[in-house]
Symmetry: C2
Amino acid sequence: MKYPNGAKNQIDNSVVNNTKATVFANRGMDFEKSVSLSASYYLEQDLAVIYKRPTPIHVVKVDYAHNFKITDAYFEKQSTTDYNGVYKGRYIDFECKETKSTTSLSFHNIPSQQIKHLKSVIRHQGIAFFLIYFITLQEVYLIDASYIIEAYEKGDRKSITLKQIKENGYLVEQGYRPRLDFLKIVEKVYFHGNI
Amino acid sequence: MKYPNGAKNQIDNSVVNNTKATVFANRGMDFEKSVSLSASYYLEQDLAVIYKRPTPIHVVKVDYAHNFKITDAYFEKQSTTDYNGVYKGRYIDFECKETKSTTSLSFHNIPSQQIKHLKSVIRHQGIAFFLIYFITLQEVYLIDASYIIEAYEKGDRKSITLKQIKENGYLVEQGYRPRLDFLKIVEKVYFHGNI
């Protein structure tokens, strides 16, 4: 299989002309788009520099005679996370996950490579977290990656409950601009201040 | 034009089967590969978490019936830099440039968007630098992005001289592993210590 689990999440819906992708994206808010728009807002307002990592693509064939057109390529598995950047000199790294469940986030969609990456980030004193979107509840939580890693490695359940997320994480405010004010929580949790 | 200036630099030679790319890459050391191998070495040795950003690709058409094969896509201009990551909690962001000149680095290959990005990184207290490979001399220098930005914005010359680079930058040690020990210089310059 040349495409990753959850390949549809890895596709930037703004650039893919495909009905399937659009249908998936329209279950409630377009989560990744909202996160990206919020990151763009922070950049415009000069509050933080956070970018979505481009989807890694394995290029097989390029047509140099026709404007470097790529004619054969495959989506690759992201071995790191969706977003990273800098806020007040600190390195920030986070992953977005969404679930239709109203009670828990299953880990089946979190590759072990991603957990390994987030552990490295924490060891190197970066700020690492997950943004989790509960589609049915229309709620987004920010939770430090350490809690997800702990639950992931316990291995007795292949998920973390919403209850655990609420206990250790923070509800992200939704608004117009930014759409999802996750930086406000980063400031509170990791810098103990206010923006 | 759908491909960026210096598109060949943006192509991961390991994945593109094309003679043209290979020929370009073989002028002396494969600079980007050496940087990536060094970053991998730091990751393995658990010294830092630094990754090359994937080349952004604008996907036009995906064949869902054939393993999500991408059949039409274009290389996009990287609006940020080649590499970023974390070292001792600090955000690190850098760009690699190479030149055949033995006296200066021309700026014609540095998009203004990249300068804007590096200025943001500096404003947010990240560590921002360039790694510059003088192909003919077989020398690599690390220079803080502020010097490049200053020279870029003066605009009287569209380049920075090797002399200026030597005065304000640092020669990067070459070896077997890591191939290019740029982290040693980061430690010295930004942390005033030794690894």
